[in-house]
């Protein structure tokens, strides 16, 4: 079952990778250049896989998966991710 959520739901998974809250970090979409905190991304959840999409152009920003204690995240659609919006 697909669930349409948002980037807030990624906080736990990303917290396994980073020691800060990555959902409050600003990312820039590689496709359209929109800058937004990850919490504002649109997220589709399906069977433990989470695809985050740009709130403006719907391009894929990242894919995150968690299976037991393994977390894998691909940030291929982000040009940058930072606590300070400096790219």
């Amino acid at each position: 079952m697909d669930e349409r959520l948002d980037g807030n739901v990624l906080a736990g998974m990303l917290g396994e990778l980073f020691d800060f809250d990555a959902t409050t970090a600003k990312g820039r979409c590689r496709h359209c250049g929109d800058e937004a905190v990850l919490a504002e991304a649109h997220v589709i959840a399906h069977d433990g896989e989470f695809v985050a999409r740009c709130r403006k152009c719907d391009a894929e920003l990242l894919v995150a998966m968690e299976h037991h204690d393994d977390v894998v995240v691909s940030f291929r659609g982000l040009r940058g991710l930072g606590i300070h919006p400096a790219y």
Binding site: D6, N8, A11, G12, V37, G48
Partner: protein, 240 residues
């Protein structure tokens, strides 16, 4: 970040489809108002399901409260609403999320807008506001199908009835209102928002939580009314 073992301390029916669940979590560091946690269930065959749930409580302490609404055909919420018992154990990870959070040193007026169980993180903010003795103005709009579907209704009414104008509650009913209800029955639209929420001139911090369709419709109306998109924070819930 690591998973912690939580024990169900109490479970209380909130509505026909929702339950308040108190969890005792040794080592829980406390949480801000509006944060959530991930909850993990493991079946006997090793299959695991993880879902995010908003926390209805805020502040320090190792005892926290969740508000969970049953999502039909969901994997986790039916268990939490219908089956979980005092003493049961499950795993939680958190507190999570620094975006959809109210900070008690923020002097801005605040408009809370919740659809269904989207009320849960918002009542955490209302409770934190009261506990801090904050003087900022809080106004809350709840969208619910019927009067029996309002989560935490007695507590919200009591807050609303507290003398002074620090907290005000409005409800929009989408299916059926109380007897002699003077307002339209139906989904939250622009007219309902203009009638029940703080005006643009107050420049309120706005928190919207609910099902995805509700959140997006409400956020679009708020922007159309003239609110600054940067003042609107949204959280779309799942929790199936």
């Amino acid at each position: 970040m690591s998973w912690r073992l939580a024990t169900v301390g109490a479970a209380m029916r909130l509505t026909d489809s929702a339950r308040s669940i108190r969890l005792d979590v040794p080592g829980w560091p406390g949480n801000l108002a509006g944060q959530h946690l991930d909850l993990r269930l493991t079946a006997e065959d090793g299959y695991q399901a993880v879902r995010s749930y908003s926390i209805a409580s805020a502040g320090p302490g190792e005892s926290i409260e969740l508000g969970v609404d049953r999502v039909p055909d969901g994997e986790v919420s039916p268990y939490l609403v219908d089956d979980v018992m005092t003493g049961d154990q499950l795993e939680v990870r958190g507190p999570l999320g620094g975006w959809f959070v109210w900070h008690e040193d923020d002097p801005s007026p605040v408009q809370l807008i919740g659809g269904g169980s989207g009320v849960v993180p918002l009542i955490a903010m209302a409770r934190a506001h009261r506990a801090a003795g904050a003087t900022s103005r809080f106004r809350m709009l709840v969208s619910a199908r019927t009067p029996e579907d309002v989560l935490f209704a007695p507590e919200l009414s009591a807050l609303d009835a507290t003398p002074g104008d620090r907290f005000a509650l409005d409800v929009v009913y989408t299916r059926r209102g109380p007897e002699d209800w003077p307002f339209p029955i139906g989904r939250v639209d622009r007219a309902a928002l203009e009638r029940t929420t703080l005006p643009v001139s107050d420049s309120p911090a706005i928190f919207v939580c609910g099902p995805t369709g509700f959140v997006e419709t409400v956020a679009d109306h708020l922007v159309a009314i003239g609110h600054d998109p940067d003042r609107i924070k949204t959280e779309r819930f799942g929790g199936a």
